[in-house]
């Protein structure tokens, strides 16, 4: 299907597309890396927020000079791209307090790249009225900092517009995910991931248009994915389709996920509120939590269990990036709970490199065979 190619393109030509956008619109491009970054506020200054992504196919020799071996290799890969100059076009970089690897590599980004604007959002780790209030204050600070640096003003109206566009995108993405409930699903895991990732690489307005077209055409697609063992994918960030590619060539099909580049990115909407910043703060505090949030495992595991029901999931794969502490701490308990409910689970720890993912294939294949064998 032609439209699917558009999403793939956005992903594969992300730097060129961002640079072109910047030249055409004469507006800033701001990179972000944590799902707890309130993109709505960046978008309200008519900037293009893009997610910083890594890649599996390059070596990371530049970053290796600064990062110890025991740092998360996704953080390593993105920092390496920055050192190579791939992100030189960025006008700003925003991160949030959602992972030690992010927090500490933020220091490296500040010291070793030339990006003119940096901002750190002090995301709380608890979900309480107090922490919403605290985040609200942080968002005011963020808004003011953007206004000051980019010499612009953010009004409630521009924020409301951004919220509307973002919510629309989230709603469309949920509809796209619904197409995967069918058997076989109307979209493969790789395709779905490319769709979600691409939403973070262009303006939401542009992406919404593509999604509308996709939704109208996909039900009659002539080339639906092959059926396979229906999988839910969870774990650390998945910023490239490589792992799903492997999974889907050995008889599995990813039908849903609990990923920060999947449902955890778009599941929750910003609710209507007189004060848009307050509404945004609430959205990020209340969203399906990442594991760095206090007591998040309950809510996250419930989200996973609900998805398992809704998407007729047969088995779960937990892809853990080495040194991704918060997910590694959650994995044993999640595995235990799912197995207790009769759901087969495969845990895979891997390095974010081509050679790091090569040995995985046979393990996934054996797992899929095992699941198929279960009557």
């Amino acid at each position: 299907m032609q439209i699917l190619q558009s999403f793939k393109n956005l992903l594969h030509r992300k730097h060129i597309i961002a640079k072109t956008w910047k030249n055409q619109n004469k507006r800033p491009v701001v990179g972000w890396n944590s799902t707890y970054t309130p993109e709505e506020i960046i978008s309200a200054i008519n900037a293009l927020p893009i997610r910083i992504l890594g890649s599996m196919d390059t070596t990371t020799t530049l970053a290796d000079a600064y990062l110890p071996r025991n740092a998360c290799s996704f953080a390593r890969s993105t920092f390496d791209h920055a050192l190579k100059g791939d992100y030189n076009y960025l006008d700003g970089f925003v991160t949030s307090n959602s992972c030690d690897n992010f927090g500490k590599t933020y220091d490296l980004w500040r010291h070793y790249t030339q990006i003119p604007y940096f901002h750190f959002i002090n995301t709380p780790h608890t979900n309480t009225p107090k922490s919403s209030e605290f985040l609200y204050y942080e968002l005011i600070r963020f808004k003011e900092s953007l206004e000051k640096h980019f010499k612009t003003t953010i009004t409630n109206k521009t924020l409301q517009t951004a919220i509307k566009t973002y919510n629309e995108n989230r709603t469309f993405l949920k509809q796209v995910y619904n197409l995967r409930r069918k058997d076989p699903p109307l979209l493969s895991g790789v395709e779905a991931l490319e769709i979600v990732l691409s939403s973070m690489l262009t303006t939401k307005q542009a992406h919404n248009k593509l999604l509308k077209q996709l939704l109208s055409e996909v039900t009659t697609r002539p080339d639906p994915p092959k059926p396979g063992v229906r999988l839910l994918i969870t774990g650390s960030i998945m910023d490239t389709p490589d792992l799903l590619n492997i999974t889907e060539t050995v008889g599995g099909i990813a039908v849903t996920d609990d990923l920060c580049t999947g449902t955890r990115y778009f599941w929750n909407l910003v609710e209507a509120n007189k004060d848009p910043l307050e509404a945004i703060a609430k959205r990020y505090i209340n969203k399906i939590p990442s594991p760095f949030m206090h007591d998040s495992h309950r809510e996250r595991f419930n989200h996973i269990k609900q998805l398992i029901k809704d998407y007729d999931v047969e088995a779960v794969i937990i892809f853990l990036l080495k040194f991704c502490d918060t997910h590694m701490f959650d994995a044993p308990l999640l595995t235990e709970e799912l197995k207790a409910e009769g759901i087969p689970v495969l845990n895979i720890e891997y390095e974010h490199t081509r050679s790091g993912i090569a040995p995985i294939k046979t393990r996934i294949e054996a797992f899929i065979e095992m699941v198929k064998g279960v009557p």
Partner: protein, 404 residues
């Protein structure tokens, strides 16, 4: 190489009784809390809650050479070998059925657990796991990250406020758990005592500026126990007074940890608890550790008339809770004040907080002071992540460059 007399029999005289008392508290049904470092323990002490530090217990297990055996138990339950070795060791200590291998009879079972977000993601996740297995509640103090690395005087007022509101929430939690009320007068006394301990400890540290330095890392890493675990106690004050007197006397009489002091080092972060003899090895090379960041980050002056505010000001600037600037400034000042000529920056396999950013510290320190640093890949409690031959090789090469 002379060991300080005050530290003779430290383990038997102080660590064992501490765990014994905690077991007694459990037997008598008194409240016990597991607590993670950078947590404002003073509040617990003010409510007569016995603090147990899994971090300290892990270091005890490492020193007694059982940490890896315990870590393996956690690993068999699915906890990755790349996680913090403190966490794996203590998770293993709780899950193991071979209770007789546990030093000091293991950690007593807590009434509840408390941690803060100040140091690392590990604390919150590790304590969540402990809380799950022990079926005891966990309170998490949501400490804002100190983004600019501001010191106590320059903190953002909003962060102080947030921290104080968290302390109030904590007090409510503790009052509910223990069925008692926090006595404000007692809190003031505890704050005063903790302040006294901190000042004494810093006074002891200051004598290490003397050449030759009267105290080395091995003694410091033992003695810091009070500062870290039970700061607001008379025992701590008494012990540090005695230690201060001894160190002062030595400084006055020119008695050094080693007599022929050739290299004065600063040691960042944690030691290899399973191999504290490593510092003797350094001494034999003519090198003495004159300051550890670990001996400085737990201190902080406290004002009894403003207990909560001063706790915020003590804990928010802890370098674990800060951007790299704070760590750089701390080491920079230590290097200057303690006349150091080399800096050891150990990584810790399971610890992102300590490991990432050392290259910046190294570069800035060299730029600003001309003092070289050595990054060592080691681990605090898991000797499988420690290659002695390689580490010694690196140290010896480094020491040679200090000669040049």
């Amino acid at each position: 190489m002379t060991r300080l007399q005050t530290l003779e029999g430290f383990y038997q005289n102080h660590i064992q009784p501490y765990y014994q008392n905690a077991h007694n508290a459990e037997r008598d049904g008194k409240p016990i809390a597991y607590v993670a470092s950078t947590f404002p323990v003073e509040i617990l002490q003010a409510m007569d809650i016995t603090p147990i530090w899994p971090e300290n217990y892990a270091s005890v297990c490492a020193a007694r050479q059982v940490s890896v055996r315990l870590a393996e138990i956690a690993e068999r339950r699915g906890y990755s070998r790349d996680l913090c070795s403190y966490a794996r060791t203590t998770i293993g200590s709780i899950l193991t059925t071979e209770k007789d291998i546990l030093p000091e009879g293991g950690m007593p079972k807590p009434t509840f657990l408390v941690a803060s977000t100040a140091a690392c993601d590990t604390h919150l996740k590790w304590f969540q796991v402990l809380s799950h297995h022990l079926k005891r509640p966990l309170y998490l103090l949501d400490s804002p990250y100190n983004i600019t690395g501001a010191d106590a005087e320059n903190l953002e007022p909003h962060y102080i406020q947030q921290y104080m509101s968290q302390l109030e929430e904590l007090i409510t939690f503790l009052e509910k758990q223990t069925n008692t009320k926090l006595d404000k007068n007692r809190l003031r006394k505890i704050i005063e005592l903790s302040d006294r301990t901190s000042n004494l400890w810093l006074e002891i540290q200051d004598y290490r500026r003397t050449i030759p330095a009267p105290m080395g890392a091995r003694d410091a890493f033992s003695a810091v126990f009070f500062m870290l675990c039970i700061p607001a106690t008379q025992t701590a004050v008494n012990f540090y007074e005695k230690l201060r007197d001894e160190v002062k006397e030595r400084a006055k009489n020119g008695i050094g940890k080693i007599q022929n002091e050739r290299y004065r080092l600063i040691w960042d972060n944690l030691p290899m608890w399973f191999n504290l003899k490593f510092f003797n090895y350094l001494n034999n090379l003519g090198a003495v550790t004159v300051a550890e960041t670990f001996s400085h980050v737990w201190t902080g002056s406290l004002d009894p008339s403003k207990p909560l505010e001063s706790l915020a000001k003590k804990y928010l600037p802890n370098f674990a809770n800060c951007s790299v600037e704070r760590r750089i400034n701390l080491i920079l000042n230590l290097a200057k004040d303690f006349h150091a000529n080399g800096i050891i920056l150990p990584t810790n396999w399971g610890c992102r907080m300590m490991s990432i950013g050392e290259t910046i510290v190294k570069e800035v320190l060299y730029e600003k002071l001309g003092v070289p640093s050595l990054i060592l890949n080691v681990d605090s409690s898991d000797w499988r992540n420690y290659n002695e031959a390689q580490v010694k090789n690196q140290i010896e090469t480094f020491i040679e460059t200090l000669n040049a």
